[in-house]
Amino acid sequence: MVELFENKANYKVIGTRPVRHDGVDKVTGRAVYGADVKVPGLIWGEVLRSTEVHAKIKSIDTSAAEKFPGVIAVMTHDDLATPGRDTTRNGLNDVDREFFNIMAKDKVMYKGHVIAAVAAIDRNTAQEAVRKIKVEYEKLQPVTNVDDAVAKNAPILLDDLIGDHLGEDVKNTNIATHFRHEFGNVEEGFESADLIVDKEVTLQMVHQGYIEPHNATAIWNEDNKVTVWSSTQGSFGVRDQTAKFIGLPPSSVRVNYSEIGGGFGGKTKVYLSPIAAILSKKSNGRPVKIVMDRPSVFQATGPAPGGKVRVKMGVTNEGKITAAHATIRYEAGAYPGSAVNAGAICIFACYEMPASRIDGYDIVVNKPKSAAYRAPGSPQAAFAIETVIDEICDQKGWDKIQFRLDNAAKKGTRRGDGVLLEKIGFEESLQAAQKSEHWNSDIGKSKEGKLRGRGLACGYWMNGGGLSTCDLMLTDDGTVMMNEGSADIGGTRASIAMQAAEVLGLSAEDIKPTIPDTDSIGYTGMTGGSRTTFATGYAAYLAAQSMVDQLKSRVAILWELNEDDIDFNEGFFTSNDQELKISIKELSGKLESTGGPVSSTASVNMAAGGNGYAVHICDLEIDPETGKTDVVRYTAIQDVGKAIHPSYAEGQIQGGVVQGIGWALNEEYYLHPDGSMANHSFLDYRMPTCLDMPMIETIMVEVPNPNHPYGVRGVGEVTLAPPIAAASNAVKDATNKRILEQPIKPSRILKAIRD
């Protein structure tokens, strides 16, 4: 377990803004992304996807594809390894179900579900050949939302699913899990309230919308060793999942790191690597590459769940929360495992209350299996709770920040799932919002005939810890080569290297970070949960401390002193009682004569992250004749713990806001009547462009995380929690109408205004 750290104020490297180590490669186009991988003898794979939303597969005829000129191999589900079938009490466990998500066996669960695959001499041939595969379906009634899924006589999507409903085993259900967190006396709390507000919000699935599509290249060697390249947030996750699906031990699979063109949680799952590996095996070891097209990314890779979130909250006339009850129902997609657990942790985490009840439901529907998306589960929850808080303040005429301050979570507050919070910075963030120029500014004059409104909303994300490894090697020119295991999706090479540099008294540029393959670094979990700068950064800190200790022994040899008599400060070794001084740079040239090269390594398992809080202020302008909405000003206030690299921390905050604004105003999985996704292109999946965004202002609050030597909390995710609610509350302010259905699109705004 990590000890508590006292925070230092003066840093040499932490808090500065060096150019990222991967910057030149990325801006010159030299960086190698997954889809750039080329190896000798490469052939192409392509998958056949279901045209049906919900159907039994009666037969698959691959004979025409096998005979198609240029085809080298064809595969179906039966070519994957047999699932472990180590059934838990909840039927198949979620990982085992991924066997059927990667490639359908007896039934398809959503349009775009993979059914078969081919490998051929080139991509066009593979695409033509895969269309020759004939699939006979028996159509089944699709279920595409949580209400339909729990209706009486709803079609049961997974015959073998045993639901866990408050601890009871339930068969014939689409509710995979119903859990409850409760403390205090909720009924008494509502009875003692002077005002109760009860609202339910509805959300559609939304996609992360990363630019780079999923891809994989695999070689199955004759000695049953498999090499994989894939765009991923975690090479070890790809290694372990691929190994399982192809029936090899993890040590037989080596995953090479490649740069990643966006992930946001969506590149934590494996879709193509096992297929590419099996196709390679069936092609006598030819390397096989598969790249998804955009419709497949939308239709068949994990979006954030849609669903319904209801919050009932009681308050006294004195402005204190007496009790709250949340009912969170998320669409898991085709197989169990939505982010409802995380949503339940987050939903009340901003507020202190004497009584709380949270019911969570994980519900199976005929849509792609949901995946993580930046603070998974929290934005939907925040939409509900922050709408209710806004409504309470509106009805009572209370100041929206003061009410939150009066009920704010702080050290010792019990989170809805029972955890007692450590030192957090929510009050400080609210105070920063209260003092901000934006909050105190006039909303500004709108263009003729337009309506303006201002909304405020808060959000929470717990931030992760977990497993990380970092190796350091001192070079004889005084620089330090760094291997670390975390995929760099947001500038973490820099933020990790800077922590090692701070310890060693070197500059950020003196540390040369590399992200090696899975054979060449200790286990490191995926980049997700805002854990990387926190956990891998801590591994770098420890490895650097270890290097300092080793170097002290070298200095002791040089100076013929005891190690205990040597101090280290800001890059220099000094002796206690003599006028001796040597820098790491000088010492690096004297390694050979003092025992040889110096390297160090550290691996960590960090128990908890740092509890991130955000407060957002959104000004928007509405054309009441058309319903068109423009965000005209936006400020994101966030407790970042300590911004290791302020520019990249700000970039994370801004990026999350942009995604959140898209989620709030226009993005959604729009379904055809048959339940398939209609808008599976960037043209019609309306993400914001730079023309739709004002400059996102950021205010970083730094309340250091006591569980990290530099106070890091993690910054990348909580920024996505408040925007839907902030925009929605701004629409209410502008129009006096509350729209409880996301996206808050022009047609809905117009309808609300005109009703």
Binding site: N124, Q127, E128, R131, E625, T626, G627, K628, T629, D630, L665, N666, Y670, A678, N679, L683, D684, R686, P688, T689, L691, D692, K745, P746, S747, L750, K751
Partner: protein
């Protein structure tokens, strides 16, 4: 996508020969910004694409006292950067300027937009209100057809197998005339019209009355719609809020949209009324200079 031939003829005749030979398995290629996307989506069983950009007539952009000739392969940027076009055909510039981003505008052609025949095509309604004509070449020689009659369904036009849209002729606008086009999209750029309206007006020499008006609606029917009743209503009417509002309301009833991922029937009809009103006013403003 399976292999197909790329042909770049230098004359209209040569192009027509290739198109005739391959029938429905050949498509003309202008900018390719629609064609290539659709080819990848296996919309056609292609044997040949026939690039029009080596044909002089298809690359001509010429404004004279007789009007404007736009070759079918002329990219959008050439249209909105041309001083004569900007001066006399502002409504056409409005459309060309909002098709895609700069990269797309450097390739995409007005002629291609017309032949793609999307109900939302941003170039089409402006051409209609200017009274433009399509010049078509085919195995049996040339024929002309009004742009308002060119589209016959989503993605469907009067062009037959073996035929090629060579150019579009736009008559020189009358004195005291103005035109404008605007679409509604939920974002600010890079989107497809939920509803859109082009208007052209000619005002009388007092400047107080409409002489004639053309109104065309996009994205609210299977093809661009000429709002004839609304246009006729305004002819001879005084220019004021009442007459303009009434025409916008008539135009709304001439729209027959569907509900889909881009918008609802209710929203689209309402938008037609709002945008028609705004475009009439903008056209009047331009006509008055």
């Amino acid at each position: 996508m399976h292999p197909f031939n790329y042909v770049a003829p230098k004359t209209v005749e040569e192009a027509v020969n290739v198109l005739e030979k391959h029938g429905d398995k050949a498509r003309p290629l202008a900018g390719g910004t629609d064609l290539l996307v659709q080819a990848r989506g296996n919309k056609w069983d292609l044997e040949a694409v026939v690039d029009v950009k080596k044909i002089p007539e298809a690359m001509k952009l010429e404004a004279s006292d007789d009007g404007l000739i736009i070759g079918s392969g002329v990219p959008c940027y050439q249209i909105y950067e041309n001083e004569e076009v900007k001066k006399h055909y502002a409504g056409i510039v409005d459309g060309a300027f909002i098709i895609g981003g700069i990269q797309i505008q450097s390739r995409a052609a007005i002629g291609g937009n017309l032949c793609n025949a999307a109900p939302s095509g941003d170039a089409i309604c402006p051409l209609i209100v200017y009274g433009a004509t399509a010049n078509i070449a085919g195995p049996n020689g040339e024929r002309k057809i009004a742009v308002e009659d060119f589209c016959i369904g989503p993605g469907k036009t009067v062009i037959k197998n073996g035929e090629l849209l060579v150019s579009i002729s736009v008559p020189k606008p009358a004195k005291r005339s103005g035109a404008a086009y605007e679409r509604f999209i939920p974002r600010n750029e890079m989107d497809i019209a939920v509803a859109a309206v082009a208007v052209s007006v000619v005002i009388d020499n007092t400047g107080e009355n409409f002489e004639s008006v053309n109104i065309a609606l996009a994205s609210v029917g299977p093809t661009p719609i000429v709002a004839r009743k609304a246009s006729d209503y305004l002819a001879g009417k005084p220019i004021n809020d009442a007459s303009i509002s009434e025409a916008a309301s008539i135009a709304k009833d001439e729209a027959s949209p569907i509900s889909d991922m881009r918008g609802t029937i209710e929203h689209r009809k309402h938008l037609i009324e709002v945008i028609t009103n705004r475009m009439i006013k903008e056209s009047v403003k331009r006509a008055r200079g």
